[in-house]
Amino acid sequence: MKNLNLGFVAIAIISSFTFTGCSKTSHAAIKDQSNRKLAPDFSLKDATGKTVKLSDLRGNVVLLNFWATWCGPCQIEIPWFMDFQKEYKDRKFEVLGVSMDDDGWTSVKPYIAQRKINYPIVIGTEQTSTLYGGVEALPTTFLIDRSGRIAAMHMGLISKSEYKDEIVKLLDGDGGIIQEPVKSSSLFSTGGPALFFAN
């Protein structure tokens, strides 16, 4: 019988998945209009094959939500966003979901149907994530004013009432004056979500 010598193998895997990250959520308030940067534009297809271009939603207050079907905290928020979509639709408000599921529509289409999601969902790519500073944690949600500028960002689950307060504030008059968009080459000039795996 052959023997296997594993004695000299150091079990050095310990450090290879020591997870690091931010355990606190980002609870930034609505930014002053002068501090808002333009939301990076993207065009992605929704579940019906229709192209959704973010900049086409300008004029609306937009809740842009990065999520995935495997994300437990994301499941909590989605019904809230459906409520907001219904409640504020007539006030020029839109929710747009960006799924970061690796298997794309295979998981997402049944999910949308089962939960009867009433707002457009697109499948995000690596590029979409990079545009938004590298979306590492889910859910990550941006509130975008009527001029297409990012007014708030939340990483992780927050309360429905916090979202509601911010949405209403943007709808009520802090939604941004529609003007020529501010050109910005870098969305996060002083850092963004900072989540790392230490391997």
Partner: protein
């Protein structure tokens, strides 16, 4: 052979048998030739309740070990070789989730 994983406080990862179909399980797989894998033994999972879930989830927290049992076939050539493994996991706190990740690793072996 034992692999030890360490999760930072506040984080959990789904066990190898998560509570719901939509959750991504912990999975250790091997490319073990010239060896064969006779079994992978995962630790006993904890059932933990989180704010985002109606029911307790089957998870690992803190430090845990996964044991792999190997067999050496009679046909295995003697000498040094390298086997490789992949550990796929997906970790969350009670408020956010990190993307699923696969850690690749390789181990030298000596068949005598």
């Amino acid at each position: 052979m034992k692999i030890t994983a360490q999760l930072r406080p506040g984080y959990h990862c789904n066990s190898n048998t998560p509570s719901d179909d939509y959750l991504i399980p912990l999975r250790l797989s091997w490319t073990a030739a010239p060896l064969t894998v006779s079994g992978v033994v995962y630790p006993k999972a904890q059932l933990e309740k989180y704010a985002f879930s109606d029911k307790p989830l089957s998870v690992y927290t803190g430090d845990f070990e996964i044991v792999t049992k190997f067999k050496v076939p009679a046909s295995a050539p003697p000498g040094l070789a390298v086997i490789s493994g992949k550990l796929r996991y997906q970790a969350c706190t009670d408020r956010m989730c990190l993307p699923p990740k696969t850690v690749d690793f390789s181990l030298p072996i000596d068949v005598r």
